[in-house]
Amino acid sequence: MKPIFMTYTKKDLINLAVCMVLSVLIIPTFIKTEYWYTSILIPWLCLALATIGQQIVMGYTGQLALGAAGFMAAGAFAMFNLILRVPDLGFVGSLIVSGLIAAAFGILFGLPSLKVRGIYLMVATLASQFFIIWMIDKFGWFKNYDSSGIITAQDIVILGKPFTTPLAMYFVCLAVTTILTLLAMNMARGSTGRNWMAVRDMDIAAESMGVSLLRTKVQAFAISAFYCGVAGALFAFCYLKSLEPVAFDIKLSFKILFMCILGGLGTINGAFIGAAFILLFPVLLNAIGNNVFHGAIDATIISSIEQVIFGLLMIIFMIYEPLGMAKLWENLKQSMRSKLSSSGIKGVKSPVLKK
């Protein structure tokens, strides 16, 4: 299709318009219960943003990294300290600067990617996870010498207006996520993304074609950490409303990894699908436990079952569809389209070849 605005086709713009109408008009008019905003929509947007960060480094650049939660913690605590110590910066300014601080960590811990790959890199990035959490935990300055371990996040104030209701916070998350998602799509489609993918597909070949490995990899790690940092700040300020290092432990990193892989490596919409699935599936399972079995099954057993199912899904997807749910969705659309075209128009044969 012919692009009509930058590299975007008519279809892309329609998709964007539909998403915007859905999230800005339809959701706020029809969903009135706070639960939906505080427990589902807000964490979904935050985690989807972090998953986009993971996608950039893993799905697009092909570097196996496992430290998203560490960068999220860096972003969240940077945000807390910036609002506390540099109040002039404002909410949006602090958000950007905390993303940049997380990006600095991303560059530091992304450097080993120049030498190693695969599981070796995974171990190197685990260092970032453990180091950042330890650093925040051990130096009281980061927590403003709060001894209780859990700090309450400051209220969100943008241009003098407080954003404290669930709906307002949803809009804050939505705005940030939308802007960063569009940016990520732009990067992925432009020369930046092409370099990432060239490095992913065969780094040595990419290098001999003139793609700078140093630049590309470090850039991917920095941008990825920026996304994770911003997501972490939103996660702490809009969803948890408190800051504690434990919330950003290795389990969250694994969760984001799962969102990224199950959603579909190398796709932006996969990040949203994966995050929605990982977030909603436990809710569904709990609902089944409560309503079908009337609480006869212990909550710990339900969470164990959830873990088993996530693991099984991971294996099944790796075997049958390594490109994840985004690819399944694509296949579904494709088959619908070919069905419509074969049944809708008389006398014209379906373009799908028949054996």
Binding site: G62, L64, P112, K115, V116, G118, I119, Y120, M122, V123, A124, L126, A127, F130, F131, W134, D137, K138, F139, M202, I204, A205, S208, I250, F254, L257, I261, T300, I301, S304, I305, E306, Q307, V308, I309, F310, G311, L312, L313, M314, I315, M318, I319, P322
Partner: protein
Amino acid sequence: MANELLFFMEVLVGGLLAGTMYSLVALGFVLIFKASATFNFSQGAMVFFSVLAFCGFMQDFNIPFVLAFILAAFLMVVVGLCTERLVLRPLMNASEDTVLMATIGLGYVLEGLAQAAWGVEVRRLDLGIGDFPVPWIADNLKLFISALDITAGLVAAIMIIGLFLLFKYTKIGLGLRAVADDAGAASSIGIPLKHIMLLVWSAAGVVALVAGMMWGARAGVQFALVDLALKALPVLIIGGFSSIPGAIIGGLIIGAVEKILEVYIGPFFGGAIEGWAPYVLAIFFLLYRPEGLFGEKIIRRV
């Protein structure tokens, strides 16, 4: 001065012996990596799964120690069989990273199953070996070294010698090495790939069980074992992924360095640096010797 030296020795020996515990976990990784070039991320979960089953057999069903051990080992063989059949065989031609992610999924399955079957509370495991200084050594050498550490060291030594002999001098070992070198060529000259894989996964399962028993006796049988097992990763990076002696030396290095750093440098940073120090050490190794101390050189072609 003498006291300081003695204290240093105590820290060092304690660290080295604790390091053998990491070695035991790393050993399981190496076994599988050697035979199939697969990085089995679920080794930590296997440690947790096997020892929790062992505890469950002993404590919930009052099965005697030896029988419980045999049952748990048998369970690990079944796990190995299922893994080979259902996970590895369909992924025969997939890329390394895909298999790695599938083993992460496998780890999740094992952790979930273990907790669903045996519950989530911390279990105490009493092997009859106390985690306190051996009086004889304390009296004669003035070193306070835990009996459990010494046992773990001995067990690790026995397992390593056994595995080394197996790899070096038996026909199975020769087959294993052939498969590791080139699976396609090995199977074309009649080495039964399936049996070799099953054998390796079962061996790794039993190694996991032993490692779990040692860790469980020290820290209790609990979910945190999975995170502890993650520390076997830096061990492997230092030692090399395909070397059994490497796993041991790597474990010793990590154990000793971690303890020494914790005791001498830790206080300046508020302690608990052993959580990340091994990983940072591993990064330095990666920068200078990515294949590890004993690993084979990695050669990549376009």
